[in-house]
Amino acid sequence: MASAIQSDSERATLLVHAYIDGELDPVNTIAVKQQIAADPALAAEAARVEALRRALREKLPATELPAGLEARVRTAVGIERTSSPASWRAMAASIAVAMVVSSGATWFVTRTPTSDDFLEPVVAGHLRALMAPQPIDVASGDGHVVKPWFNGRIPQAPRVVDLDQAGFKLVGGRVDVVGRAGVPTLVYQIRQHLISLTAVPDAAHVAMNETATAVRGYNVVRWTADHVSYVAVSDVNAADLDKFAQAFRDAR
């Protein structure tokens, strides 16, 4: 159908939409970001799509479930009234936990976080992301895309800065789990290396080492700014990671 008569510009347009939707892998993300920068037509398309998505998100009221529909569905399938309204939630939660446990992530849910346990899950998040088909949940080189993506997923969206000038490209973000809380992680790229930058609010107890040290074979830098603790993890060399941390701190 449509694909048979798809032109190059048509394809480029679809990739811009996919870029804004965070559907591209890091390599394509960077490629499309460059195309947008070079082509005013694509930049205009990107601006339109972002404006439209923002309008839809902010203007349209959420669809309310009509009163009584849930009860009618319950009755229709014969879920007894005697079961308390919260019971399906509890069941859903227990199934969710079961799925997490069976997927091998037991470690995350059974260990309670203490200051010493803080670093481990952050490094593990980086490792897990490297093993996943895509190290990020939202792929975008645009801070204005990445930051809003976190809204609604975690209580506080992280500070997102553009470090292109310093050689560190933003490629996206994801939510990691530390203790029982979701925390925002930004992913930057330098050459072939990815840097995971996890931001944890109110983590005053976290020990700081403002220059890179090795944890399980990865370099780690930690610092605190504005009541937020930052942890940068990467397999890049310590000097570059220090440079990254410095660039992020200096970007104001």
């Binding site: 449509a2 694909s3 404006a51 349209l60 009509p66 529909l69 859903a92």
Partner: protein, 181 residues
């Protein structure tokens, strides 16, 4: 598996997504009462098929059933409004030919401003006016937040088709909003 387990499974797999189910049905059918009927019917279908739920993405599974129910329901109650697949190919071709390539040279800022100023009622009308395959794709992505793979599953369309429908749906909305200004 005893029937009680079916109910437990239904409560865990389907009930959490009743809101999503209703929202999709609402956008697909266009009216509240139709949407309620579709959700009830889809719930029964889901309940009867609950043992076939093989784990994985429960929301996509539920929405797939809701969509199929809505399509059947719409075909039954008002066959005129339904866009069949052959028509769709024509719609997509028309869209391509009437593409807004010329407009791409226009200045960005006033245009995005017009979009930003669009009011809820205007957005809703514009969405409702989309051909249904475009509309469902846009609703699943931009209102319900499904990713391309999930939309592909729910609408039973290849990812490439999902991408082109989504792009055209958005371009159409922008044109409608701009045209109404």
């Amino acid at each position: 598996m005893p029937a009680d387990d079916d109910k437990t499974l239904f409560a865990a797999v389907v009930m959490p997504y009743l809101g999503d189910a209703y929202a999709l049905a609402r956008w697909m059918t266009g009216t509240r009462t139709d949407a309620e009927d579709v959700v009830q019917e889809a719930s029964l279908r889901a309940f009867r098929a609950i043992r076939r739920y093989a784990g994985g993405n429960a929301r996509a599974w539920v929405l797939t059933i809701v969509r199929n129910t809505a399509l059947t329901w719409m075909a039954k109650s008002r066959p005129v409004g339904l866009v069949v697949v052959d028509d769709l190919a024509a719609v997509e071709r028309r869209q391509l030919q009437s593409g807004n390539m010329d407009d791409w040279n226009s200045v960005v800022d006033p245009e995005t401003e017009i979009i930003a100023k669009a009011e809820a009622a205007r957005l809703e009308t514009a969405i409702a006016a989309l051909p249904s395959p475009f509309r469902e794709t846009l609703v699943l992505r931009d209102l319900q937040g499904l990713d391309y793979r999930e939309i592909s599953q729910v609408t039973d369309a290849p990812i490439g088709t999902v991408m082109s429908r989504l792009a055209r749906a958005r371009q159409r909305l922008v044109e409608t909003i701009r045209g109404a200004e």
